[in-house]
């Protein structure tokens, strides 16, 4: 009898162990993970929101090109409406929705070797400036800010044009550049390495993020549910905590 009890207990332990190591961590619906292409600036917040999906983070323009060329993607989240809207017009994604907004900032290394205190200092001081490439949303927004402020001349001080905004953040954080234009949310994860210099509200571009389900996604129901999650209170709270702005008044 004792032997039988031990055998049953052992079986229960094995089953429980198997359940704990696989079943408990599996997605309830047992659907495969979604493949989500997202703007580099969404890296931290999307991973924190849902680590179970397959993410690819990069410049929205590069992701747009990959999707256009047939990359197997379920959801695309872009840092500029231009990228999602182009795919929508081509019938590649379903109707995009705006899900958050952001602001641009100038960051400098904590040591601030160039002594930059204001964006206007870029004009008068010898600086190594790093920006995102013009086709990358952050790069386009940077050009917009400089144009609005009458400071496009500082582009002559650009030493590097990066393929996404995280590369700009990295170069400044590592002290390889004196200053760089990034989103305010990019500065947060490296706040011990960089200082943020505000860009005036009147010069801010309209940074709007859009998200869309890829039309040919084989996991469309799950993809639509994921988009709904981003738009839900849970998703919006996470974005807010990461420093993103609430849905813009005009699109909410």
């Amino acid at each position: 009898m004792r032997g039988r009890l031990l055998a049953i207990a052992g079986l229960v332990a094995v089953v429980a162990s198997a359940w704990l190591t696989s079943g408990a961590t599996a997605r309830p619906s047992a659907t495969p993970p979604l493949t989500i292409y997202a703007a580099a600036s969404l890296t931290e917040v999307f991973k924190a929101l849902d680590g179970a999906q397959h993410f690819s983070f990069a410049g929205s323009n590069a992701l747009e090109t990959q999707i256009r060329n047939g990359a197997p993607v379920d959801v695309f989240a872009s840092a500029a409406p231009l990228n999602t809207q182009r795919l929508f017009k081509a019938g590649i994604v379903d109707k995009p929705v705006t899900f958050t907004a952001n602001r641009l900032a100038l960051i400098v290394p904590k040591s601030n070797p160039a002594g930059i205190r204001s964006i206007y200092d870029l004009r008068s001081k010898p600086v190594k400036l790093v920006v995102a490439a013009p086709a990358v949303p952050a790069g386009g927004y940077t050009l917009s800010v400089l144009r609005k402020m009458g400071l496009s001349s500082v582009l002559s001080k650009v030493v590097s044009r990066e393929s996404d905004v995280k590369a700009v953040t990295g170069k400044v954080a590592l002290g390889q550049a004196d200053a760089g234009f990034v989103y305010v949310t990019d500065a947060r994860p490296v706040s011990d390495q960089v200082s943020v210099i505000r860009i005036p509200a009147w010069a801010q571009p309209r940074v709007r993020y859009e998200i869309a389900v890829v039309t040919k996604s084989p996991n469309k129901t799950a993809a639509q549910a994921w988009v709904r999650m981003i738009l839900s209170a849970k998703g919006q709270t996470a974005l807010k905590h990461a420093g993103f702005l609430p849905l813009p008044k005009a699109s909410s």
Partner: protein, 191 residues
């Protein structure tokens, strides 16, 4: 990436376009970027000023001639914003709109006529100072006339603040401000 015009924005632009038509201003396509920077700042600041007047009217603490001054100031600010937006769109730039801002006002900014006048004075002084500098910065004479006109209007509005019951302040030489200083003054309100 241009947005469709909302009714509010359409009215603003229409009012501004009408006002601009009355001024001898040339198309802005040839304007220098530095000149347009003043217009970008000024549109935002005039929208801020219009919001200030709207909030002051909604607070209903100013009555009589002061209320008429607030209404006139609001109309002027809306027309100025529209006219300046016209300069920017004429130069191929997107103009800021009220929806782009989350204007911030101190808690007691509109609790009394004096508080209202003090808040308005801060905004108007920054605007007047920027307009004064804009007049001598722009290379296009017709722009200079626009900024002179806007500076005169800001001065008139500062004078009209006495109708709010505040003691009149007459400055013999109002200080001209560069764009950075004017921007720093208004940044806390622009949100």
């Amino acid at each position: 990436m241009r947005r469709p015009l909302s009714r509010r924005r359409l009215l603003t632009v229409a009012a501004g376009t009408a006002a601009l038509a009355a001024l001898p201003v040339r198309p802005a396509s040839a304007a220098r970027e530095e000149e347009l920077a003043y217009a970008n700042f000024a549109v935002s600041s005039e929208l801020l000023l219009a919001d200030l007047y709207a909030k002051a009217l909604a607070a209903k603490v100013v009555i009589g001639p002061g209320q008429a001054a607030l209404r006139a100031g609001r109309r002027a600010a809306i027309q100025h914003a529209g006219a300046l937006s016209g300069l920017l769109t004429g130069a191929g730039q997107d103009a800021p709109a009220a929806e782009d801002f989350d204007f911030q006002w101190p808690a007691k900014a509109f609790h009394t006529p004096d508080a209202t006048a003090a808040t308005a004075r801060v905004v108007l002084r920054a605007l007047l100072g920027a307009y004064q500098t804009a007049v001598v910065t722009v290379s296009e004479p017709s722009y200079g006339i626009v900024y002179t006109s806007l500076a005169a209007s800001a001065g008139q509005q500062l004078g009209a603040l006495s109708a709010l019951g505040a003691s009149g302040v007459v400055e013999p030489f109002p200080v001209a401000l560069d764009l950075e200083s004017a921007s720093d003054t208004l940044e806390p309100y622009l949100g």
